[in-house]
Every structure is written in structure tokens, then in C-alpha cells.
Symmetry: C2
Subunit: 344 residues, 2 copies
């Protein structure tokens, strides 16, 4: 069992979480509805922090709730416990072991606010510290780079959102995601081909906006971890405030541009980057006009934009895997890093 197997396990892992997790998550949502909360605070590190970024947009756009990403070091380094006031506090961690994330949840629970652990380890310190716990049921993840636990974390957030608002159409759309992930796996031959001709890259920029900003961050991390490529993720808006200076002909720009409210502006920006700067575009999208802008990786159609990050990361994972191999790196054991990182 290596990284590629775990990437390919994602439809089954998603199916399991949806089938077995929907009811427990609905019970947590019911418990949260009374009394109502004002804000959501999320503590997470690394890949799980990108699931937190996804949650920021999901709860912001769908529930109009302000989501703060906790800076765990405020507790662990400065010894200060935030006043959580009328917040719900969520900790996300594959292993459930990072002491700084556990510390945020323990402090919040001590203040009597609702706490939720999202973790792949049901007996972990994080799960035990929280009032509520969502078990990701992804099965053991042995590769150092997280893949199936990332999509499971996103799915847990999506299920919680749909349950909170009694969104039956959303739940039905979630139920179709395992098939969509399977369809996205069929980009593998394309990812291998695109990666093989780009093995010599010195660096790249990864662009996404709105819901897909999380995907941009996670794709960039996978490129760094696996392919040892300096990859800089940006929201398409922040990118125009400065880093545009990096561009030159042939500079690699990877973009997530699926259908949705953020698509028109992003596609217009990508067109400008190609025409004015001659960048080398790789575009992940379900839209023909976006795919036609450069080398395309096609996503399955008809996925609501708020759920697409569960699917759009899959070609990105495969691309990073094949780029690692094309660059002579072993994607199953990235240099210098371990599966569980205990930071404080």
C-alpha cells in the first residue's frame, strides 16, 4: 500500500464516511443548533489547515458565519487562552495528536463552548478532548503525505454544513461525490503526461479562488512535500497584489477553475496571464473555456461549486505524485518529514 493506492482508495473512503458518518454528524448538527453560535473557530495544521480554509468558505457562504482560523501558538507559545465567547470550536487533525491543536480544543471545552474533533483516529487525544467527535473512517493512512484523510476532512465539513441547514439537496449531491471522485481518478494518464514534460520546473504558482483556494493551498503543499517543488499558492485576488511580478514566459501557473461564481473572473485573469505573459498554464476544470486556456485536466460535470474541492484535489494529487516520480523523488517517503508531526 503506497501513496498511489491511498489516492485511489478515495471513492471507497468517501462512500464509507457518507454511509456511516451521516447520522452521527446529523446528531452533532442538531446539538449545535441550540443555543445558536455566532462564530466558528478552527484549529489545524498542515493539510488539515487547508480543510479549515475550506470550512471558512463553506460556513461563510452557506451559513453567513464568520470563521476564525485559530493561531494555535497563541496558547502554546504565549500561554494565553482566548475567550471563545459565542463560538463553536473545531479541531481538525488526521492523527488527532498535535498538542497545539488539542490545546485549543481543551481550552474551549473548559470554557463550556461546543467543541468538535474531526480526526481519523477515534481514540486520539483530540477526539477525547472534544465534546463531539467526527470519525473520518478513512482507514489507516500510511503514506506520509495525506490524501484520503484530506478529502474525508472536507466531506465531514460538507456533511456538517448540509445537516446544519437541513439541506436535503446538498446531502443528495454529497451522495454523488464518490462517483465523481472515481471519475476524477481517470485523469491519471493526463496527469502523468503533463508532469513528465514539466519535470525540470524550478517553481510554480497555484491559483484558486473562493472554495477552491483550499485546493490551491493543498496542491501547493503536495508539490512541495512530494515533488520538492517550490510552489506558491494564492487566491486569484491576492495574486494581483504583488506576486504577479514573478511571471515570465513559460513560468508555470497551475489553476483550479471549475464552474461556479468565482469562475468568470478567474478565467479572465488566466487568459490575461497567458496572452500578456506567456505563462505555462495547467488548468483543472469542468469548463471547456477554462480547459482550452492551457493544458487541461478535466473534472466531472454538474458538481455544485461548494462540493467541488472534494473532487478537484484528486487530479492535483495525481499530478504531484507523477511529478515526484518524474523528478526522481520517492512519493512514498518524502525526505525529512514524518507522518505525525507534534508541534507546540
Amino acid at each position: 500500500m503506497g501513496l498511489r493506492d491511498e489516492i485511489r482508495e478515495q471513492p471507497a473512503a468517501a462512500r464509507r464516511l457518507i454511509d456511516e458518518g451521516r447520522e452521527p454528524i446529523a446528531r452533532i448538527a442538531a446539538a449545535l443548533r441550540e443555543p445558536p453560535f455566532d462564530t466558528i473557530v478552527i484549529a489545524a495544521r498542515g493539510t488539515s489547515d487547508h480543510a479549515a480554509v475550506y470550512a471558512q468558505y463553506v460556513f461563510g457562504v452557506r451559513h453567513r458565519v464568520i470563521v476564525g482560523l485559530a493561531a494555535p501558538s497563541i496558547g502554546s507559545v504565549y500561554g494565553v487562552e482566548p475567550r471563545f465567547a459565542h463560538s463553536v470550536v473545531i479541531g481538525i487533525s488526521q492523527s488527532g495528536e498535535s498538542p497545539d491543536v488539542v490545546g485549543v480544543i481543551a481550552a474551549a471545552r473548559g470554557q463550556g463552548v461546543p467543541t468538535i474533533a474531526i480526526t481519523n483516529s477515534a481514540g486520539s487525544p483530540l477526539a477525547r478532548a472534544a465534546e463531539h467527535s467526527i470519525d473520518l473512517r478513512a482507514g489507516p493512512e500510511r503514506a506520509v503525505a495525506a490524501t484520503k484523510t484530506y478529502t474525508a476532512e472536507l466531506l465531514a465539513v460538507a456533511l456538517l454544513s448540509a445537516s446544519l441547514s437541513g439541506d436535503d439537496a446538498g446531502l443528495a449531491a454529497i451522495d454523488r461525490l464518490p462517483d465523481a471522485i472515481a471519475a476524477a481518478l481517470e485523469t491519471e494518464a493526463d496527469t502523468e503526461r503533463l508532469a513528465s514534460t514539466r519535470a525540470g520546473m524550478a517553481g510554480c504558482v497555484v491559483l484558486g479562488r473562493g472554495f477552491e483556494y483550499a485546493t490551491a493551498r493543498e496542491w501547493a503543499l503536495k508539490l512541495k512535500e512530494l515533488a520538492r517543488l517550490l510552489a506558491d499558492p494564492y487566491s486569484a485576488a491576492d495574486f494581483q497584489h504583488g506576486p504577479l511580478a514573478l511571471l515570465e514566459p513559460g513560468f508555470p501557473v497551475f489553476a483550479l477553475a471549475p464552474s461556479g461564481a468565482s469562475a468568470p473572473d478567474l478565467i479572465a485573469l488566466l487568459g490575461r496571464l497567458r496572452d500578456q505573459f506567456g505563462v505555462d498554464l495547467v488548468v483543472v476544470s469542468d469548463r471547456d473555456d477554462a480547459l482550452a486556456l492551457g493544458a487541461g485536466l478535466r473534472l466531472p460535470p454538474s458538481i455544485p461549486d461548494w462540493l467541488m474541492p472534494v473532487v478537484s484535489i484528486v487530479p492535483a494529487q495525481l499530478f504531484a505524485y507523477h511529478l515526484a516520480r518524474a523528478r526522481g523523488q520517492d512519493p512514498d517517503s518524502p525526505r525529512h518529514i514524518r507522518k505525525v508531526t507534534l508541534t507546540r
Copy 2:
């Protein structure tokens, strides 16, 4: 008047903001104290977003308040207005013109929650949209890359924090910052020397933690804007969750490691990076043990850690300026970017 002049104007700009802005900021703080607020939400882009990161730590550590960084696209792209509930909402923008940031403030004001503009343009749309406005008084900033308005934004946050808690010792320490910035300008010859021998770099990582995470983000942006160097900023904790894989002998790692609660762990990490991976370290610090780890840029002593980011960015700005020149770039007119970027 070019970028270097504006960098060197910072002691005078800071002096002006402290002398003329302290009273108006104290009045805003007094207005915020009743009724009390639960959370702070900040909207900002680009360099100003790094001032928002600084504010996240300042209000978190010193006031125990959860600070959420608004995702402006939730309003501008998805058309959704967050419920600001018991928040104070702050917009930070040098020009005060970015429509997405103005939109967040206008929505918050419409909901009747306190709003504050922090801007260098007292008549700007942002200043007019907010209930309260802090004028940075930095004078016209003509270079595309923001420098003196960044330190002014940090100072405004620091003054607001000290006023909120009636922290006279903090105000006295703030009063000494213009001299400390002047002392930091004296690193210029060192920054020029260190930059000249590193002109060929293909990329780098910039590390900071806690209060200095904002400085790491801003240093990396300046390296991208001015020197066209792919620079990846990380909190020292997140860095260990993955990007460690990038390291190899001679890989450039720039670090902010001044005195304070975050120093011991960070200095230990930097020692490991040097000994195990043979990275090329450039360290900005007031501590001898940190400076001895690699090429050092010395900060003035006795600055409280929460105020050091106003000072520690100065050698970083100078380094980016001289690296740009060493790489044949014109730091006064970075390619492709304009002073005012209007994103929605």
C-alpha cells in the same frame, strides 16, 4: 523619491503617527470599550493582509480576543453578507480603494457593528465607509511596493491595542520605536553584502513564528515583488508539517528570531536545519545565539516582542531592495504590478 527613500523615511513616519495619531486612536478605543465586543474581523489584501496577521496575534495574545481574517470574496464573489454579530470589523488598505475590502466594511456598518478603517488616504472610500477611521499619516507612498505604510499599519494596530487596555508601559515602548527603526536602518550595509552573494538563488523559505509570522509573510512578498524570487513564508510550526521536504544543502532559509516567547523553539529548529540539512541561514534577531547560527542581521535590543515586527521588517525590506538590484531588477518599478490594485 524612490523605494529606498521611503524605507528610510520610516522613523519620521512612525514619529508622526505616534505624535498625531495617539489621541484620535485613544478616542476610538474608548468608543469600542462599551459595549464590549467578542471578536474582531479584519478585511485586507496583499501587504495590508500581513498587518492583519499581526493584529491577529496582538489582539489574541494581549486581549484574548479571537480574530477572524475575513475572506472578502465571500461578499464580492458569492454575494453573501456575513452576520458580524458581536464583532468589531476592521478594514486595512493603504489606498483605501479596494472594493472588496470596502464592501466588508460597508456590510458591517449596515449591521450596526463598530467599524474601523486603517488607511493612508483619509478621504478614501474605505475611510468614508467606516464609522471610525485611523489616518496613517505616512505621506504619499509612490513606490509600488509598500514599506512605510506597512510599518504605519502595524503601529496603528499597536496603538489601538495599548489604548484599549490602558497600557501606559506599552505606549512608552511604542514611543521608542522610531529610534529603534532608525537603528535597524543601520543594517543596510550588511543587507547589501548578504544580498550580493545570494543573487543567484532560485527560491527560498522565510520562517517566523507568533508575532513574527506577519514579518515572514511580508518579507516573502517583498522578495517576490522586488527581487522576483520565489519565497515561501511559513510559521515555524507549519513548516514542519510538510515543506521540510524542500531542504537540501545550501537551500536559503531566512528567519525572524528576535527575543520573546517564540525564540527558544525557533532557534532550536534553525540549529537543526543548519546541522542536519546544511541550509544557508540568514537570521534577523537581537539575540547573539540566533545571530551566530548563520549570516546575521542585528536588531536593536530591548524591544518587547509584540512590538518587534515594526522594527524587524526593516532589515528585510532593505535586503529585498538590495537583492532586487543584485538580480538586475528595478526595485522602484516592479514588473507587471501597479500601486493600487482593485480586486473584487
